[in-house]
């Protein structure tokens, strides 16, 4: 990784756990669409050939000593990016669901909109959305839950295709949900009165492997995320009552 970094520096992070079948294609696709951008694969202690495949495809590696789960892996990437001084970080999933061709669009929105977070969304105009019935139902449920909390509609709250600027990076390197992070992360940002925006992105079905949220786990996921969201709201409300300016400064 070339240091020091110039202004407007971008890092693409790809959290991966046992994604041997898809990771090389994802890394190559990112490098093809944003050629001079460093790509960091965060290997969450995979037991297959994920590391070797990512390295061979041209990615830098951040190797976690043991399995932390998605949130822990993503936060490790955010921490490193913040320490190295990157201005923007875009997260792409390692399973091949995200279209790297959308990265420039997310980056442009990050640099021009003034928002702290840009979400690549399947459900805004012009996007592609292959999603299962159960997942679509879950997304609709969380849309309804988040609407009054965030004060605006979020079409795709479970999207992992997100870009953040340095202000959000600083917050996330200290406070980031460690399990099922996407939805709670929105509330964490809301607590700081940060802004987010969605841009249309095309998404594919997984290139390899299978989702970790299946069957009974989806009920656990819903309960876990709901609890996390409401705890974040309560913390924010409590803080706001104690300090009237809380949230504005992060």
């Amino acid at each position: 990784m070339k240091l020091p970094l110039g202004p407007g520096s971008l890092l693409v992070i790809i959290p991966a756990f046992n994604e041997e079948g898809a990771i090389a294609g994802v890394v190559r696709s990112v490098l093809r669409h944003v050629p001079d951008t460093p790509v960091l694969v965060i290997d969450d202690s995979s037991t297959d050939g994920t590391r070797a495949a990512a390295r061979a495809a041209g990615a830098e590696l951040l190797c976690l000593p043991h399995h932390l789960g998605l949130g822990g892996a993503v936060q490790a990437g955010y921490k490193l990016a913040f320490e190295l001084g990157f201005e923007y970080v875009i997260r792409v999933d390692g399973d091949g669901q995200h279209n790297a061709a959308d990265i420039p669009r997310i980056l442009e929105a990050l640099t021009t909109s003034g928002c702290e977070m840009i979400i690549g969304s399947r459900f805004v105009e012009g996007a592609g959305a292959p999603s299962s019935f159960a997942r679509t139902l879950g997304i609709r449920f969380f849309r309804a839950v988040l609407r009054p909390i965030l004060g605006k509609r979020v079409h795709d709250p479970t999207s992992g295709f997100v870009g953040v600027n340095r202000r959000a990076l600083e917050v996330f390197s200290h406070s980031f949900p460690l399990e099922y992070p996407e939805i709670e992360a929105l509330v964490v940002l809301q607590r700081r009165r940060f802004r987010f925006q969605e841009v249309p992105c095309k998404m594919y079905r997984r290139a390899a492997g299978r989702s970790s949220i299946t069957g009974l786990k989806s009920f656990y996921y819903m309960a876990h995320v709901l609890l996390g969201v409401f705890m974040n709201v309560l913390k924010y409300e409590g803080r706001r009552r104690r300090e009237p300016d809380a949230g504005a400064g992060g």
Partner: protein, 117 residues
């Protein structure tokens, strides 16, 4: 009732011995053994001191000589202890995650400085 109290006495003595042996063998840290020791002593005291057990039983609305009181108290104490240990485990997990992230980042810096050095 007497037989039941003898059983709880035996259980509390076994628990007490297990905790003490574990401390001696350094299988459990002293600070985490204290609540188990207090629980075992409490159970032992209530099992051997009938007036104390009757007093507690009447205070929680059960009749005197009610064995249910012993189980209610024991169950409540263990629930509180399990909750306390859940808090400790949660703190340890958070520390563990932060340490694992730090190790990975330091290894990255070392590897990167090696490549450029």
């Amino acid at each position: 009732m007497d037989r039941l109290l003898n059983v709880t006495t035996a259980v509390s003595i076994v628990l007490l011995l297990m905790v003490l042996v574990s401390i001696r063998r350094a299988h459990i840290r002293v600070e985490y053994s204290m609540s188990w020791l207090f629980a075992a002593f409490g159970l032992l005291a209530l099992s051997r001191c009938r007036p104390a057990l009757n007093f507690v039983a009447s205070r929680i609305g059960l009749g005197a000589d009610s064995p249910l009181a012993l189980f209610l108290i024991g169950g409540s104490v263990f629930l509180i202890m399990f909750f306390r240990y859940s808090i400790i485990v949660s703190h340890l997990r958070d520390d563990n995650i932060a340490l694992a992230q730090r190790v990975a980042i330091l290894e990255f810096h070392i590897r990167n400085s090696g490549n450029h050095g």
